[in-house]
Structures are given as C-alpha cells and as structure tokens.
Symmetry: D2
C-alpha cells in the first residue's frame, strides 16, 4: 500500500508545487505528529466527534506517512507486517489476552 | 489500502488477543499521536537517525491508522484521495509553487 | 516562574554536560511534544494511571518548557498571563459557560 | 511555580466558565500534547519562526501543565527538581558531556 493511483496522485501534487525540497524525513516526521495531534483534537473534550472531520484528519496523517515511506524507499504493507511479527513475539496470546498491559510489564 | 493480507493479519492479531475492546476511536487517536512522537524521537537531536528504527516507528503509526480506518469503516486510499482534492484547492499551483507557506497566509 | 532555584538547577545541569549546544528552539519544541506524548501514554488505555508516573512525565514536559523559555528570553508567568488575556476575549463568559466548544464555533 | 497571581488568574478563568468539569487529568494530558504540536508547527518547515507566535504556543502548553498540576495537587517546581535528581543519575557528567545520546545507549 498505498495503491499505485494514490502514490501517483501524491507524487504529482508534490511535483507540481516543487515541494519535494521540503520533504526531508525530519520535516515529514514533524508533520506526522502535528497532524496526529489535530486528529486527537477531535477527541479533546468529547468522545463522539464528527466522523467526517475524523476521517479528514486521519487522511492527513496517512498522507504524510505515505510521503515518508516514499522518501525512505519502503513499502508500508511490508514494514507493517514486519513490525507485526515483532509485536506478536512481545505479546504472546496466552499472556496478553484481554489485557492492555505494556509488554515490559507482562508477567514472565 | 492496505492490502487484504495486511488487513487480515492485523485483524487476526487483534482477535487472538481480544483487544478490539480497547480499540475505541479515541484510544486509537491517542495511540497514533503517541507512536508519531516516538517516530519524531528518532530526529530529536539529530537529522540522520538509524533507518531501520525510523521504519519501525513509522510502521507503528500506520498500524494504528489501519486499526482506526477499520473501526471507522473507511478505506485509507479513498480518504487520502478525497482530502488531496481539498488540499489541491487550498494550494493552487501558481501561488504555492516552491513555497512552504500555510494556505491561510498565501496572498490572495 | 519557575523559581530562581529551579532555573539555576536546570542551568547548572545543562552547563555541566555542555548540552546548551543541543537546545535550539526547534529541538526543544520537538522535545516538548515527545515528552507530552509520554505523558499521554499514561492514559493510552485507561484513565486511572499511577500518579507518580504522571507527575514524572509532566515534570519532563515542564522542564523542556523552562529550557525553551530560557532560550527565548521570556518569563513563563508573563507569557501565560498575556495569553490568558487573549483567551478571555475569545471565550466570553456568557457564551462559553459550561461548554467545551471551540471559539470558532461559538455562536455570535 | 507558577506565581500565586498566575494560579489565581487561571483558577478564576476556569471557574467563571464552569470548565473544571472538563479538566480531567486525561483531557488535560490530551490538551498538552495538542498544544505542544501547535508549538512544533511553528518549526514545521523552517527553523526561524515568528518569536511572538512561539511564545504564545509555549504559553498554551504551560497553561495546561499548570491546570494539570492543580488537578494532581502538585507543585511544578517540586516535581521538576525531583525529576532532575533522577535525570542527573541517568546522565553522569563524565559520560554524557557534550553528547546527545540516550541514557540507555551510553556506554557503561
């Protein structure tokens, strides 16, 4: 992921504006956390925000994630699945089932 | 996006651990910003961090974005392209070209 | 604020380690959001975290805020009170009372 | 810290609007990270933002930190100094001098 159509649309958007010069990994990492906080702002004072607003803010986070993946030269599906394998090992089903406990605090 | 394989892997991971109960939109929004800040931490004091570490932290952000999209019932490609259309309108090529100026501050 | 004792303790801590070189406004801004996300992590899956842990994470946020105020040459009490005057104007008591509505969405 | 005048001004501001009901520790933690990201936004694409804008965003972060300290019943100077003592132990001068290396990666 994302689809070739999405990759091409974002690439064209950036190229038309000559914005690749601003897309250093660090600037993109800042942008991801800035957009993630705007997503959280939907939930700042209540837990039932406008769905369309939430979708738009989530889209902003993912847009910068796609840009960063492009700059890093990685595929998002690949790194998500690779990380999932690590997370599976940290959270064995028999210890983690039904519990939101950080792996560092799961009993051995 | 993501690929059906990734969606199914994340769904199974969550189901095996009975973790869907923790995946409210608000909790996932908090998780996205927490992981985004861990990604930024790679760049806290320098701009050339370990690439593998950056990829792993980016994967964590995207993983929670996929979970949130699932809970919201939306497709990430769709909302990214829909938002891109709005952003295109806010940043016309002739005004935004080569400039990292917020749309609210672009001259009319 | 902070107290002269706190200012001096942080100044000495930084000087002993020759860390002022890392304390650019941008690096401190990144550090503040990174520590703020660690504070939020206390509340990621539950709303009743360990009080001492919350205090320690809040202390980290405020520590970097003090460093940034020092680099900017401003007093935190002064800028908080100056901003409060602006916020008072945005949220008139008669409109904002008992409502967590953003000022941009308060009825005129 | 903060000064009694600042504490009283923030307390009165909140009381007049009947907003204490929204100031749960979790909501304040969300608010701190949201404001911290707005501070970071000053540095999103450049490292020389408008000083007044930076001061105002820093003030927002500290305002919520003061609210959270009030709800927790702690003094910010006290917790900052207590945390500093721990950080001193993690970063001995002879190992940390002039190096922005995380304590977990300092050589023994």
């Amino acid at each position: 992921m994302p689809s070739p159509k999405t990759i091409e649309a974002l690439r064209a958007f950036t190229a038309e504006r000559d914005w690749a010069q601003f897309h250093s990994p660090e600037n993109l990492a800042k942008s991801i956390v800035i957009e993630a906080a705007e997503l959280l702002e939907c939930f700042q004072w209540n837990d039932a925000p406008n769905q369309r607003k939430v979708e738009d803010e989530l889209a902003d986070v993912v847009t910068y994630c796609i840009h960063l993946a492009g700059v890093l030269g990685v595929d998002l599906d690949e790194i998500v699945l690779r990380k999932l394998a690590q997370t599976r090992a940290k959270y064995p089903v028999e210890k983690a089932r039904g519990r939101a406990t950080k792996y560092t605090e799961l009993e051995p």
